[in-house]
């Protein structure tokens, strides 16, 4: 799949809640096929503090509008700059990068688990799961009720199971404790979110022998497999999150026990 470097035009920058924004960007050329789980490297570069590109998951793709959407959480200077982008402004992207989630077979039971900004790729994945003929369930975790984002969007695609750490909405605790996750038989579980959450999901799936893929968010410099900065230890040695991932089957990961 050929990678591109292009100046996109911001068509919309919508604040979801708290520090979360969805930025819709239109491409100057017809979009190539973008797979669920792939990401883009965005050039912020507005000050010495934001020197490197920011890797951002593709949240959604609209081929009819020729746009892609990115879901961002303001965590530092780079994402803060992105949150302030106005319609009409340009954003340079290198894309589509990385591998993708393995889509289910028709009729399989599928659970997509995520939390916070890790939900970014799960929306597009959910749409592709439906196209594959499976029905997606979402297990989404948040700190508390006021931090919940995007649940209406996800409800349009499938069933949503919520967990909050303080119990102010849905199950009290982490996504791995949600009864639907624990009790139902899943053919596939996908996860993207905080590393501790993904490790807990992975442990549960390995224990129950469930196919499980996670999307990692390791720090990157190049995004194209040249710098070898974003490696993750796997059964095949250190692999690049940017080119061998970001999606990995948890069976192949050799995660260290400490986060």
């Amino acid at each position: 799949m050929k990678k591109r470097i292009e100046d996109f035009t911001v068509t919309e920058n919508r604040r979801l809640a708290d520090k979360f924004y969805v930025i819709k960007l239109s491409s100057p050329t017809p979009l190539p096929e973008i797979l669920p789980g792939q990401f883009a490297e965005a050039l912020v570069n507005d000050s010495p503090a934001t020197f490197l590109r920011r890797p951002l998951s593709v949240h959604d793709v609209d081929y009819s509008e020729n746009t892609i959407s990115l879901l961002i959480q303001v965590t530092g200077k780079g994402t803060e700059h992105l949150s302030r982008l106005q319609a009409g402004e340009k954003l340079n992207l290198i894309y589509p990068l990385g591998n993708s989630f393995t889509l289910p077979q028709k009729g399989e039971s599928v659970l997509l688990t995520g939390g916070g900004c890790g939900m970014a790729p799960l929306f597009y994945l959910g749409r592709k799961v439906i196209e594959s003929g499976a029905y997606p369930h979402f297990a989404l975790g948040f700190r508390n009720r006021s931090r919940i984002i995007g649940q209406d969007e996800f409800r349009k695609l499938g069933e949503v199971h919520l967990a909050t750490e303080d119990g102010s909405e849905g199950y009290r605790g982490f996504v791995t404790g949600i009864p639907a996750f624990r009790e139902e038989k899943w053919d596939r579980v996908y996860s993207c979110g905080p590393e501790l959450m993904m490790k807990a999901v992975a442990a549960e799936c390995l224990d129950r022998d469930i196919f499980c893929e996670v999307s990692l968010e390791n720090m990157m410099a190049c995004g194209i497999g040249a710098c070898l900065c974003c490696v993750v230890p796997t059964t095949s040695g250190n692999l690049c999150t940017c080119t061998d991932g970001p999606v990995f089957n948890v069976r192949n990961l050799k995660w260290q026990t400490s986060g």
């Binding site: 050929k2 990678k3 591109r4 470097i5 050039l43 570069n45 010495p48 503090a49 934001t50 020197f51 490197l52 590109r53 290198i94 390791n218 720090m219 990157m220 410099a221 190049c222 995004g223 194209i224 497999g225 040249a226 710098c227 070898l228 900065c229 974003c230 490696v231 993750v232 230890p233 040695g237 250190n238 260290q256």
Partner: protein, 304 residues
């Protein structure tokens, strides 16, 4: 159009712009963005005799106008390189140079001997300046006796163009430039990364698994420029300038300070087309100022 060709040792380069080791993979990572054959050359990933896993993650931290890395020479070793990478590299119509690393003088020489037999590799860059390995690397590049010994040994083992990549983590760069020349190097390239570190005040931990790493990017350009200028004044072999080159103007500054050629490194992470853009920018500068060749401006600040 100005003539950009340059010569290092007996080796001709179509222009003075190369991509630096560790920032261009094995070239193919950039095939979607540029035609590698337009470059003067590429210096592929640091290679060792045996396969290496490198340092644990995290091995990168962003810093003001730059980045720290502690990759630690992750590579699959010379056997894998020869079988799986070299055949494809030999198709590139440009100078493909291998960056050579080892723990001991014997490892450096053995690897150099192996590379001497690969026809499509016309030169090596002897890396005595990697700051991210426990043994070898920078230890050779910061100790005059050790530098002298390893360069002399490799010179005996390697018949083609030998470039020595110098460390900036020394008191007097001219000493190592002269040692390289005296021991038979055809050129020197500098600077490798500057040893630095970063701390996360939030987690109260170092940002790199190795604590310290190598700083690159525009943050180091003034230091690099100074060292290239000093080195070029003290040796008669060509100097290849490296350090924070983001565009043609940066590259021209290095050439004017005495560099015969330059390497684009970290900038390729920001824009993979940088090196090719630098070539175009140098050409248009020379044409605009009426210079017929790039060599006319090499070291020109010393004459102006």
């Amino acid at each position: 159009m100005a003539d950009l060709r340059i010569k290092i040792g007996s080796l001709l380069f179509k222009n003075p712009v190369l991509m630096a080791s560790g920032t261009c993979g094995y070239g193919s990572e950039f095939d979607d963005f540029i035609d590698i054959a337009q470059l003067g050359g590429i210096i592929v990933k640091g290679t060792t005799l045996e396969s290496r896993e490198g340092n644990p993650y995290p091995r990168m931290a962003e810093t003001a106008s730059g980045m720290l890395n502690a990759v630690g020479l992750q590579n699959k070793g010379i056997d894998y390189f020869e079988t799986n990478i070299y055949p494809r590299l030999s198709q590139y119509d440009t100078n493909v140079i291998v960056n050579v690393n080892g723990n001991t003088v014997e490892e450096y020489t053995e690897l150099s001997r192996r590379l001497d037999n690969l026809d499509a590799i016309p030169a090596i860059e002897l890396n005595i300046s990697c700051p991210n390995v426990k043994r070898g690397g920078m230890i050779f590049g910061t100790n005059p006796g050790a530098a002298s010994e390893v360069i002399a040994a490799v010179r005996k083992a390697y018949r083609k163009t030998l470039i020595v990549k110098l460390s900036p983590n020394v008191t007097d760069i001219t000493e190592f430039a002269r040692i390289s020349e005296d021991e038979g190097a055809d050129a020197i390239s500098l600077i490798n990364t500057l040893v630095g570190m970063a701390v996360d005040a939030g987690t109260m931990k170092p940002k790199l698994s190795t604590v310290t790493g190598g700083l690159s990017g525009p943050a180091i350009k003034p230091v690099a420029l100074r060292m290239v200028w000093q080195a070029a004044k003290n040796v008669s072999i060509p100097v290849i300038g490296i350090g924070g080159i983001m565009n043609a103007q940066d590259a021209l500054e290095f050439i004017m300070a005495g560099a015969t050629a330059v390497q684009v490194g970290t900038a390729s992470f920001i824009d993979p087309r940088t090196a090719v853009n630098v070539i175009a920018g140098i050409t248009s500068f020379l044409d605009g100022r009426g210079f017929a060749t790039v060599s006319q401006i090499t070291g020109i600040i010393n004459r102006n």
